[in-house]
C-alpha cells in the first residue's frame, strides 16, 4: 500500500499561504485512500501555477501546453486504459485557453478526473481577470472592472450530464480529498472545481470570502436529480454549494473503444493477417 510519503514532499515555487498546498494534500490523501501507487498514476497539466502540480508530486507526469491539458490527458487515456489519470490545471487553463477542450471533454465524457483550481484570477501572469472572475473585478488589465459575465463550469458540466460534477474548497481538505477519491473511482469525466484563494493577486475572493460564500451540501440534495443539479448551479450565489452536485450515468468515452479492453496500445503490435486483409480491399 502506498503512503502519503510515497507521493513525495517536494519543495514548491508557490506563494506561502497559497491554496495549492491544501489541494496537493487532498490529492495525495485521495490517491493513498484509493490504494493507488505512484507508477499507476498519471498527472497531466497545462500551464499556470496549478499546472505545476505534477512537478510537486511523485508520479508519472505530462506537463503540456497552456490550455491543452485535457486533450493530452484524453490521448493518454485512450492509449493506456490502466493508467489512473488526473488532469489538473487552473481556471484560466481549462475554462479560458482550453475552453473548447472543456466542452469537448464534457461531450465525450472522457474517463478522467479533472481538478480545476478556481481562484478566479490569473496568478502566474500576475493578476489579470480569469474566465471565472466576478463582474466588476478590477485588475491592471481590467481597470474599470470585468465586463464579461463569469463562466459557469458546473452548470455547463451538469447540462452535459458529466459522470461527476463536484465543487470543493481548499480550506476543506478532508472534504476535498473525499470528492477527489470519488472522482478517481468514477468512470467517465469527473469534474472537481476547487475554490481557492490567491493570496497574491485576488484581494476580493479571499479565504474569508470563500468561507462566507460557501456551504456544505446536505443530504437533502439528490445528486442523481439532473433538474435539481441544474437548478443548484444555474443561478449561483450568493452562497455556493460544496460537494457532489451531480452524478451522471452516461458511459465513459473509453468504453466505446473495444481495443482498449486488451490493455495498453503500446503493447498490441500489428495483426499481420488483418493488415493483409485490409490491403486486399484495395485490389
Amino acid at each position: 500500500m502506498a503512503t502519503i510519503e510515497d507521493y513525495g514532499d517536494i519543495t514548491t515555487a508557490w506563494c506561502p499561504g497559497c491554496g495549492n498546498f491544501n489541494i496537493r494534500q487532498a490529492v495525495k490523501k485521495a490517491l493513498v485512500n484509493s490504494g493507488l501507487e505512484p507508477h499507476q498514476v498519471l498527472m497531466v497539466s497545462g500551464i499556470g501555477q496549478a499546472a505545476k502540480m505534477p512537478h510537486y508530486l511523485r508520479c508519472n507526469a505530462f506537463n503540456g501546453l497552456h490550455g491543452r491539458g485535457l486533450p493530452a490527458a484524453t490521448g493518454a487515456r485512450l492509449a493506456n486504459p490502466s493508467l489512473k489519470i488526473i488532469c489538473e490545471s487552473g481556471d484560466g487553463c481549462n475554462y479560458g485557453e482550453g475552453g473548447n477542450h472543456f466542452l469537448a471533454a464534457l461531450r465525450r465524457n472522457i474517463d478522467l478526473t479533472l481538478i480545476v483550481h478556481d481562484n478566479q484570477v490569473y496568478g502566474l501572469t500576475k493578476g489579470q481577470a480569469s474566465p471565472t472572475s466576478l463582474e466588476g473585478f478590477v485588475t491592471k488589465a481590467q481597470p474599470e472592472g470585468v465586463w464579461a459575465t463569469p463562466f459557469n463550469p458546473l452548470a455547463v458540466a451538469v447540462l452535459h450530464r458529466a459522470s461527476l460534477v463536484a465543487r470543493g474548497f481548499s480550506g476543506e481538505v478532508e472534504h476535498l480529498a473525499g470528492l477527489i477519491k470519488e472522482a478517481l473511482a468514477t468512470p467517465g469525466l469527473a469534474l472537481v472545481d476547487v475554490f481557492q484563494p490567491c493570496v497574491s493577486f485576488n484581494k476580493v475572493n479571499t479565504f474569508a470570502w470563500y468561507k462566507e460564500h460557501t456551504y456544505l451540501l446536505g443530504a437533502e440534495h439528490d445528486s442523481s436529480d439532473w433538474h435539481a443539479a441544474l437548478e443548484l448551479t444555474a443561478n449561483p450565489g450568493p452562497k455556493f454549494p460544496l460537494g457532489v452536485i451531480y452524478r451522471g450515468s452516461r458511459p465513459g468515452y473509453a468504453s466505446h473503444f473495444p481495443v482498449l479492453e486488451q490493455g495498453p496500445l503500446a503493447r498490441q503490435g500489428v495483426d499481420q493477417e488483418a493488415l493483409r486483409h485490409v490491403m486486399e480491399k484495395f485490389l
Binding site: L42, H55, N60, G75, Q262, L265, Q268, L275
Partner: protein
Amino acid sequence: MASEALDILIGGEAGQGLVTIGQVLAKALVKAGYHILVTQDYLSRVRGGHNTFRIRTGPNLLVAPREGVDLLVALDQESLDLHAGALRPGAQVIADIGLTCGLAPCLNLPYADLAPARYQNTVALGAAASLLGLEMDLIARELAAFLGKKMTPEVTEKNRAALKAAYDFTATRRTGFKPLPPPVPAGPRLMINGNEALALGALAAGLKFLAFYPMTPATAIALTAIAHAKALGVVCEQAEDEIAAINMALGAAYAGAPAMVCTSGGGFALMCEGVSLAGMSENPLLIALAMRPGPATGLPTRTEQGDLELALFAGHGEFPRAIYAPGTVEDCFSLAALALAQAEKHQGPIFILTDQFLADSYRAVEPFDLGAVQPVRPGLATVADEQGYRRYALTDSGISPRALPGLSRALVVSDSDEHTEDGHLTEDLAVRVAMQDKRLRKLAGLLADRLLPSFQGPEDAELLLVGWGSTLGSLEGAAAQLSAQGRRVGVCHFSQVWPLAGEDFLERFARAGQVVMVEGNATGQLAALIRRETGYAVGRLVLRYDGLPITPEYILRQLAD
C-alpha cells in the same frame, strides 16, 4: 507513336456523379490489367461548379499526368466548352444528344431513351467502357461492387440496366476511336491513392493512435485509418480542433501509442505550438501534411507545394525534425512507415509532406510488401533501473531511453518547460544549455538516417531537372520528352527535404550544364533552402502556383519561354 496511353476526362457539375463513374471506370481499368494515373480537380462546394476526374490509362507504367484529352465524357455543356480545345487527333466525345459538340467528333447518345434521368452518369459510363473496349461483365461487376455498398439492390439493378443499354447502344455505333491496346499480363494490382497509401503505410508500421480535424485534402488519410481501425486495433478520434488533435496525439504518444495527425495548411498552422511541444517533450509524432494553396483558406481543393518552409520552421524554439516528401503513391506507403519508425527512434516530430494532387491521385500499384515493414516497438521493453529512471538522461546521441508510464514502476515525467534529466522543470541555466545541446544532438542521427536524393539520366547532363515530392513523375516525363529530342537531360528528386547534406547532390549539380528547380510554389522554397544550407544558387526556377499539378508539358513550356 509516342505513347499507347489514353487520357480520359470526365467533366461535369458536383452532384452529377462524375466521381462515382470515374472511380468505377478506374477500378475496371485496373482490374482489366491497365495502369492508371488519376488527377482530380474539384471546386470547394458540394453541388454545382465545374469538376473533372481525369484518368490517364494504358498498358504500361504511367508516371505523370498529361494535358491532352483522348476521350471526353461530358456530363454538361460546360465540359464541352472548356475541354474541346484539349482534344487530341483521333479523340472522341461522349455526350447527351441535347449538348452541342461543335466540330468535335462526338458520340451523341439519347440519354433519355436509354435510362431515366437520374442514371445519366451510368449511361456515360457504359458508353465510355464500350469505346475503351472493356468487357460489359467487368464494368457491370465493378459498378455493382461500388453501388452495392450504399444503394438498395433495386437501385443497383436499375444502374446495371442503364449501363447495359448504353454499352450496347455504343457498340452499334461507328466511331473513329481506337480502343485501348491489350494489357500486359500481370498479377492483380491495388487501386489506391496517396492518402490511402500513406494511411496504410502508417498502419503497417504499427500506428495505434490517430487524431484529426477534417480538412481537405488530408481527411481521407484519417478516413482510411478509421475504416480499418477496428480490424487493426487503432484508436482514431475526430478532435474538436487541430490544437486538440496534436495534443491528443502527443498524450497518446507519451503513453506509448505510435501516433499521428493529418492535416493541411491552416489546420497545421494551428498545430504549430504542439509541434514545438513534440520537440521539447521528445515524444514521437508523425505529422502528415497534405498541402493546398494558401495563404489562409487559399484554394481549398487544389494543389501546391507551398508549405515546405512552414513545416521546416513550424513551432517556436529550436529542435530537430525530419521532413519526407513522397514522389509516388508507393512512396506514400513506404515513407509513412519509415517516418513512424523514425519518430519513435529519434523521439520527436517527423513530417510527411504530400499535396492534393498526390493525395487524391489513384494509381495501379503492385501490392505492398507488408512483410518488409518492421512494426514500431514503442519505448523500452524493460527498464533496468526503475527507481533511478530519468526520462531525459543526457546521452551522446541525444536520444534518452524512453520508458512508458504505467508499464513499469519507473516514473516517466514529460515536460514542456525546460527540465532536468528526471523531467522536472528547472530554471538552472546550465541545465538549460545541456538539455538544448542534447536535443539538438539528435539532428546528427536524423542526418545519418537521411534518404539520399535520387538521380536519373546521364551524370553530365546538359540539363538537370530538380524537384521534390509529388512532381517526380512530371520531371521524369519532361526529361523523357527532351531526351527523345536528343537532349541530355537528367532528373534529381528529393524524397526527403530535411535534413539536407550538400555532399549528396552538389557534385552532380556542378557537373550539369544547367540546373533547373521545379516546384509547385511561387518562391522556390527548396531552392532557397539549398542555398541557405550550402550556398549553392540554383540557376533557374520553374514554378507553378495556379492550383494545378505540374505536368511535363508545363515544364517544357516554361523551359521554352
